[in-house]
């Protein structure tokens, strides 16, 4: 089985910019939504919770959110599978719907904080970078020297 990502990585900058909301709810439906009129119209700044904090509501449920950037070195893409694979072994093809550099993150009645699952999950980006960054000979020697220095200071 192979998965084809059907877009040209070099043309991403020219792709459609998307306005996205990360919602704390599972919506059992697929299709267009009147986001502008039913939702964006009601987004308000709530300085009482801090700068940049926003409020809104979804079906009467209070939301507290903020505008977030995609982490540095990453790019947000929305991919869509137009044809569902018939079996697990069949080839799959994902098409590009659009790209995003930032989005609105919403919590249900909770000011966004480092306790949020989203922020916790994104720590992986730092870990991944630390693990996959190539280490040069020079870095290694510097690290050994530092360790020796530390050992001397605290016998």
């Amino acid at each position: 089985m192979s998965i084809t990502l059907d877009f040209n990585g070099k043309n991403l900058a020219k792709s459609k910019q998307l306005d996205l909301h990360y919602l704390p709810a599972k919506i059992d439906g697929d299709g267009e939504a009147n986001v502008e009129q039913y939702f964006n119209n009601y987004t308000r700044e709530a300085t009482e919770f801090g700068s940049g904090i926003l409020t809104n509501a979804l079906r009467g449920y209070p939301l507290v959110g903020e505008q977030l950037k995609v982490p540095e070195g990453y790019r947000g893409l929305v991919l869509q599978e137009t044809e569902k694979p018939i079996s697990e072994s069949s080839d799959r093809q994902l098409r590009l719907t659009g790209v995003f550099g930032d989005f609105t993150y919403w919590n249900y009645d909770k000011v966004p904080s480092n306790g949020d699952a989203y922020r916790q999950a994104l720590l992986l980006a730092d870990v991944a970078q630390a693990l996959s960054q190539p280490i040069t000979e020079h870095d290694l020697e510097a690290e050994i020297a530092r360790n020796k220095e530390n050992a001397k200071e605290s016998p």
Binding site: A33, R59, G60
Partner: protein, 347 residues
């Protein structure tokens, strides 16, 4: 069919604009300042100028006598039950000795007044010299959006709490504006005792009376009730949908779940994702049921409501005295032990 409807709607718009234009020409001065309610006519423009997804508070000018002479203050609400539109809290106050003005206004039993009569009294309160010189009032329009989001908070806030907070907020604002309050009369639908206790705790120096149907017993409550009811009716009349809906004459019915016009409005204006326009109180079971049937299912992340798997030693552990074999061993009570006393069953 749909084309025809479109045309109708447009014509409707035109006529409304025409009327507005004429109105503006006629009393330019009156309508210029939409931050002040000086008559019945200015109430609509004032409300229309505010965001209808948020609460709005309005305080009339405080008559000078109300700052000197001890006053009575009445509190009542309008629009608690309906599934549509704001709930409005109203207060009105006047010196204890100015009861006559309330009688002249016709503030008797507000429930027996027709809509027209209430409008006339509201206009009189704001325009007639004998009233403006001694009667002041204030309202808070609690938006349906606020009602829904309060009731759907993680720690749910009941409509009663929302109501009491609003009532106490308005009384506080009257105090801050300089009203010399001596007596407070509150109409309530719930049990009066609890409400009275809470009010007394917050305002210990006032003589506070909380009673059912206070609006028919106390003219000052009746005046508050009229201000609240007229404001709620106007809020619905001038409601503009940020969602872009256009409803002919804003005919949603009374807003009570039993009203067929309201029922039809609810079933015909469901958005699959967002549910209803925010004129609707989502937290009403009528609204919830309609969405459960017709809109997409939506499940919120509510980890706070999950039962904790381990919450420390079970409280019931201390009541158990059985061993594995099933025999009951109870430690002797210290009282008996220290006194060398024991249970004896056989002699």
């Amino acid at each position: 069919m749909s084309d025809q409807e479109d045309i109708e709607v447009k014509q409707e718009d035109q006529t409304i604009e025409d009327i507005n234009e004429k109105d503006e020409k006629r009393d330019d001065e009156d309508l210029k300042d939409t931050d002040k309610i000086s008559s019945l006519k200015t109430l609509g423009p004032f409300i229309a100028g505010k965001e209808n997804s948020r609460n709005t508070v309005y305080l009339s000018d405080v008559p000078d006598v109300c700052k000197d002479k001890p006053c009575m203050l009445g509190v009542d609400e309008a629009g608690r039950g309906p599934v549509l539109g704001p709930m409005v809290y109203g207060i009105s106050y006047c010196p204890l000795e100015s009861k006559k003005a309330l009688e002249d206004l016709g503030c008797a039993d507000s429930k027996q007044l027709t809509e027209e009569k209430r409008d006339v009294i509201f206009n009189d309160i704001n325009t007639k010299e004998y009233a403006t010189s001694c009667v002041g009032w204030a309202v808070e329009i609690i938006s349906p959006n606020t009602i829904s989001t309060s009731m759907y908070r993680r720690s749910k806030c009941s409509l009663n709490e929302v109501s009491m907070d609003s009532a106490m907020g308005l009384i506080q604002q009257a105090i801050d504006a300089g009203v010399n309050i001596a007596e407070v009369y509150v109409d309530t639908v719930g049990p009066p005792e609890k409400y009275q206790e809470k009010l007394l705790k917050r305002f210990p120096t006032f003589k506070i009376t909380v009673a059912k149907k206070a609006d028919s017993t106390y003219p000052i409550v009746s005046a508050a009730s009229i201000c609240a009811k007229v404001t709620r009716d106007h809020a619905l009349k001038v409601w503009k949908f940020p969602e872009g809906l256009v409803i002919k004459d804003n005919a949603f019915g009374s807003g009570y779940p039993g009203d067929p016009v309201t029922k039809r409005f609810l079933t015909e204006h469901i958005d699959l994702v967002f549910g209803f326009p925010r004129l609707v109180r989502f937290s009403w079971s009528t609204a919830e049921n309609a969405l459960a049937d017709k809109a997409y299912d939506m499940e919120f992340d509510e980890p706070d409501s999950e039962k904790p798997k381990y919450a420390g030693t079970k409280l019931t552990k201390f009541f158990k005295g059985t061993t594995k074999s099933g025999e009951v061993i109870r430690e002797e009570c210290r009282f008996f032990k220290q006194r060398h006393l024991g249970n004896v069953m056989e002699f």
